[in-house]
């Protein structure tokens, strides 16, 4: 149990995909213009990550080694398409905002990375936990970046106005994404360094 818990917390903290592994930067920078967008992107990725980790871990013994990458990609892209269809049907506004970044989850290196580095070598349960941990780490990071950018840039959080008027627009534009990511990375390193 202790080992499983470690797999899970490693995903959120020690192997945090954004602040430690610095993977999946494209959706991170592009979709975190508001907290809800960041969270939506995170949850979509979380779902794909958990499902593909489970399936790939189940199939790890029957997939021939030389064609494992195409096999993984087919599995991952199927789950992404499923997520895309579901979002289109039930949360269309969010789907329209995230736009092209939903299909791009297929090539998010976090997912293929976890499939290759973890799910193809570990049991189903452990892989699911790893997917959950990494996915939550990704979701939390994106939500935090989104919140900071939304507060500084639009003066609101999750769409609720904190004060009247506009914020510093630059935090909503692309440069703000780099600023916020950089400073949050410093904070994250500082906090986790103490624990270790």
């Amino acid at each position: 149990m202790g080992k499983n818990l470690k797999i899970f917390t490693d995903g959120v903290l020690k192997n945090n995909p954004i602040f430690v592994l610095v993977l999946g930067m494209c959706p991170t920078l592009a979709t975190t213009t508001s907290a809800i967008n960041g969270m939506g992107m995170g949850i979509a990725t979380l779902f794909v990550l958990v499902m593909s980790n489970i399936v790939i871990s189940l199939l790890k013994n029957v997939i021939p080694d030389k064609v494992r990458i195409p096999a993984y990609i087919v599995v991952i892209s199927s789950f992404v398409t499923v997520v895309q269809l579901l979002m289109q049907a039930y949360v269309q506004d969010l789907y329209n905002t995230l736009g092209v970044f939903i299909p791009l989850i297929v090539v998010n290196c976090i997912i293929l990375g976890r499939a290759e580095a973890f799910a193809s070598k570990n049991s189903v349960g452990a892989s699911a936990l790893d997917g959950l941990g990494i996915g939550l780490g990704f979701t939390l990071s994106l939500t935090i970046i989104g919140m900071v950018r939304e507060i500084l840039g639009s003066g609101s959080v999750f769409g609720m106005d904190l004060w009247q008027g506009d914020g510093a627009l630059i935090f909503i534009l692309s440069p703000g994404a780099f600023f916020v990511l950089g400073y949050l990375m410093i904070v994250f390193r500082k906090l986790t360094a103490k624990k270790n």
């Binding site: 013994n61 021939p64 080694d65 269809l85 579901l86 289109q88 049907a89 506009d166 909503i172």
Partner: protein
């Protein structure tokens, strides 16, 4: 598993097959919710950009835009036009513009855009200056370009390109609206029944009204002239009157009316009392008034007001005829 050719092909095929079956299953399940969500979005937008109405037509493709006709009891309330400009700051800007029947912009709603958040994306926020510079304006009387380009539109701060794209989309929508409303006002008029045999029909530019000149081998043989009266039972009555060059009325077609169904609307019938008492008559020798009011025209039963308006509209056309037929 060993990477033999047989194994590799077999496994990839099985995985691809299972995955595509799963995707197809989810597609089937979500097909209806997706279609419902999308049409709901469109219907919501149409409701927002037009005054209250009962029925809405299917989407019609007009001049590259999607057009919806909104009606109440068969009367046109307005048109909602979905138009897209490809010239946004980040791609397409798609909007829904509501026109009332007289060409006034009732409201504009942004359907999709990917403009800069905080700048161009403000076009979709409540009560922004860009939308406000269109709402309530008569589309034909405004210059749909931003003030920087010499037009009447207030651009969003620091989002001139987005504002230009928005204005362009409105002008596309207006073009589609014009095409449909012109088509409706001509209402598929059968000019052959109004005019003598002719080979060309020429739209004569006239400040006083719409005049079509029928020409046969270079000779003018007749005119079709629009006349209207605002004194109908429910406002406007517009007719198109066919004259030959001697000033005889050949036939009359009703272009627009909102009269009482079953009574005043009989003016649209092919052979009604009104047409019967005017058709073939020399306009100069006709007294344009109802019989019980000292004129020569039989009124429609129980539709005296409508009949008066009809006669007034025909007379207006005759006055114009006298001006053009010199």
């Amino acid at each position: 598993m060993k990477s033999s050719l047989k194994n590799m092909v077999l496994m990839l095929c099985i995985i691809a097959l299972v995955c595509s079956a799963a995707v197809a299953g989810v597609y089937q399940l979500t097909k209806e919710p997706i279609a419902a969500a999308q049409s709901q979005k469109v219907v919501d937008a149409i409701r927002k950009v037009l005054p209250a109405f009962e029925d809405c037509s299917e989407r019609m493709e007009v001049a590259g835009c999607g057009l919806y006709e909104a009606t109440t009891d068969g009367k046109i309330v307005g048109y909602a036009v979905e138009a897209t400009s490809p010239n946004g700051f980040s791609g397409n800007v798609t909007i829904m513009v509501g026109f009332t029947a007289d060409g006034t912009i009732y409201n504009v709603e942004v359907l999709s855009q990917a403009e800069t958040p905080g700048l161009g994306a403000n076009m979709a926020s409540e009560g922004n200056v860009l939308v406000a510079s269109f709402v309530g304006k008569v589309a034909g009387e405004m210059n749909m370009t931003v003030k920087k380009d010499g037009g009447d539109v207030d651009a969003l701060t620091a989002a001139t390109i987005s504002s230009r794209a928005f204005s362009e989309a409105v002008s596309f929508a207006y073009a589609a609206f014009l095409e449909v409303s012109e088509e409706n006002s001509k209402g598929g008029v059968d000019f052959a029944s109004l005019l003598p045999a002719h080979d060309t029909l020429e739209n004569v530019e006239s400040a006083d009204g719409v005049v079509y000149r029928a020409i046969l081998e270079g000779q003018t043989v007749g005119y079709a002239i629009e006349g209207s009266s605002m004194k109908g039972f429910n406002g406007l009555v517009k007719v198109l009157v066919g004259f030959d060059v001697d000033g005889s009325i050949i036939n009359i077609a009703v272009l627009e009316q909102n009269e009482t169904p079953g009574l005043g609307t009989k003016m649209c019938d092919a052979d009604n009392a009104l047409i019967a008492s005017l058709k073939g008559k020399k306009a100069s020798a006709t007294r344009f008034a109802l019989k019980n009011e000292g004129g020569d025209v039989d009124a429609l039963t129980s539709a005296t007001v409508s009949s008066r308006a009809y006669v007034e509209a025909v007379e207006a056309a005759y006055q114009l005829f006298k001006k053009v037929n010199l």
